[in-house]
């Protein structure tokens, strides 16, 4: 076998191995999307009921709770950025990071300081490499988050918003995550969690045509709100984590599918080249034999004379 042909053969082998791996990753991701979607759906009833309850308290009482009233001049905002732990998911993490950068710029232009909280190794690495300050970060569960993870993340955020701004607290709470629209579409979005913009929430419930009844609060509206809002934040974070996980798997599936396709194309063109190289080798061998034979024939014809 010629040197050229051997090189092609070796490359085809390497690409085939890569293709097998990406194909396996694609299938694993595809099966996990379904699981992740199911988790998103399972968490929906709790989130809906909780939002309804929060709306009911916030609109049904004149409670002036620090978590629902907007500060006149907000000076600090916390941003929670949700990225993935692992790569090989196309532009998934970098899109989320870019969305966070845009939000950060917007908040900065409004004269707010930004405290960053990060979920996922990719985001931590990005901020670490640029030596940016990160208040807190969590890693190790982005592909399959549990409610306890959301609770762990929410705790310092709730504490920060309850503190006075002068003592290191924040006035606003934003979250950046990748929304799962469909298998093919996932968007990096940012949303303000707190203070609650009641207009949005109220609008949503009136759109659905339900009139909120006048609730009796047990023990009191303030106490209910006090207990409700941390749960609300946790549930929002949990929902965001689940959607982000589903998006991560979908993004990985797509990235791995195109990697598999590319590997297939590469194998095809490499085997064409290998065939051409083999053919060239054969042609050369034939012409060498023919050349050698005719030289021999010429030589014997000469000696006969």
């Amino acid at each position: 076998m010629g040197a050229q042909l051997r090189v092609y053969k070796r490359r085809i082998q390497a690409v085939t191995a890569t293709k097998k791996i990406t194909k396996a990753m694609e299938m694993i991701a595809a099966s996990r999307i379904v699981k992740a979607q199911r988790k998103v759906a399972a968490s929906q009833p709790y989130a809906t009921e909780l939002t309804r309850a929060v709306t009911a308290v916030a609109t049904g009482s004149d409670a002036n709770h620090p978590l629902t009233t907007e500060v006149e001049t907000p000076t600090r905002a916390a941003v929670l950025l949700i990225t993935s732990d692992r790569g090989l998911a196309g532009g998934y993490s970098s899109n989320a990071i870019k969305a966070a950068e845009r939000l950060r710029e917007r908040l900065a232009s409004e004269g707010k300081e930004v405290d960053t909280y990060i979920v996922g190794r990719k985001g931590v690495a990005y901020y670490g490499f640029r030596e940016r300050k990160v208040v807190d970060s969590w890693t190790g569960f982005t592909d399959n988050p549990a409610y306890s993870d959301a609770k762990r993340i929410a705790a310092p955020l709730i504490e920060a918003i309850q503190n006075e701004t002068a003592e290191g607290g924040v006035d606003e709470l934003h979250i950046v995550f990748t929304e799962f629209v469909s298998m093919m579409t996932q968007n990096a979005v940012d949303a303000r969690m707190l203070p609650l913009s009641l207009d949005d929430v109220a609008e949503e419930s009136t759109r659905k045509g339900e009139i909120l009844p006048l609730f009796e609060f047990e023990p009191s509206a303030e106490d209910v709100l006090d207990a409700l809002l941390p749960r609300y934040v946790e549930s929002r974070i949990y929902n965001a984590l689940l959607q982000a996980a589903a998006s991560e798997h979908a993004a990985r599936r797509r990235a791995m599918k195109s990697a598999t396709d590319n590997a297939g194309d590469l194998i095809k063109s490499l085997s064409r080249l290998a065939n051409a190289a083999r053919q060239a080798e054969i042609t050369q061998e034939i012409s060498e034999i023919v050349g050698g034979a005719s030289a021999l024939a010429d030589a014997t014809a000469g000696s006969d004379k």
């Binding site: 399972a42 968490s43 709790y46 009921e49 909780l50 609730f215 009796e216 409700l228």
Partner: protein, 124 residues
């Protein structure tokens, strides 16, 4: 037909139980409360403890909830809890083991969780 109320018992990551009931008894921070059809709209904070649901078929469903809320309006009652388990789902032996472990480790939160589980089973 006797009046009924629709009950949704949901935990953070799943819907635990839903169905029609005639009476729901739960413990709020200011005391036990029983809700029957036609009750005034209510929103309360739940204590960790057992919740008893009397179904319209005459059966009784007991669940252990760990913190959460009760909200009632238009004969629809929702019980929201971070963690909620039906008494039938609770593994008594495991809860007892967890209780002992929590006692020896002096883990107050785990001890309370295990106790609530056992109480819910006892009510059943």
């Amino acid at each position: 037909m006797a009046a009924e109320l629709h009950v949704e018992l949901v935990a953070a990551d799943r819907s635990v139980w839903s169905g029609e009931a005639t009476l729901v008894v739960a413990r709020t921070t200011s005391g036990d409360i029983g809700v029957m059809p036609g009750h005034q709209p209510l929103l309360g904070v739940l204590e960790s403890g057992p919740v008893t649901i009397r179904t319209s078929e005459g059966g009784t469903v007991v669940a252990a909830v760990h913190g959460g809320f009760i909200s009632f309006a238009d004969d629809k009652l929702s019980l929201l809890a971070e963690i909620a388990e039906l008494a039938d789902e609770i593994d008594v032996e495991r809860a007892e083991r967890a209780l002992e472990l929590a006692k020896s480790d002096a883990d107050a939160a785990a001890e309370r969780r295990a106790e609530i589980r056992l109480r819910a089973v006892a009510v059943r």
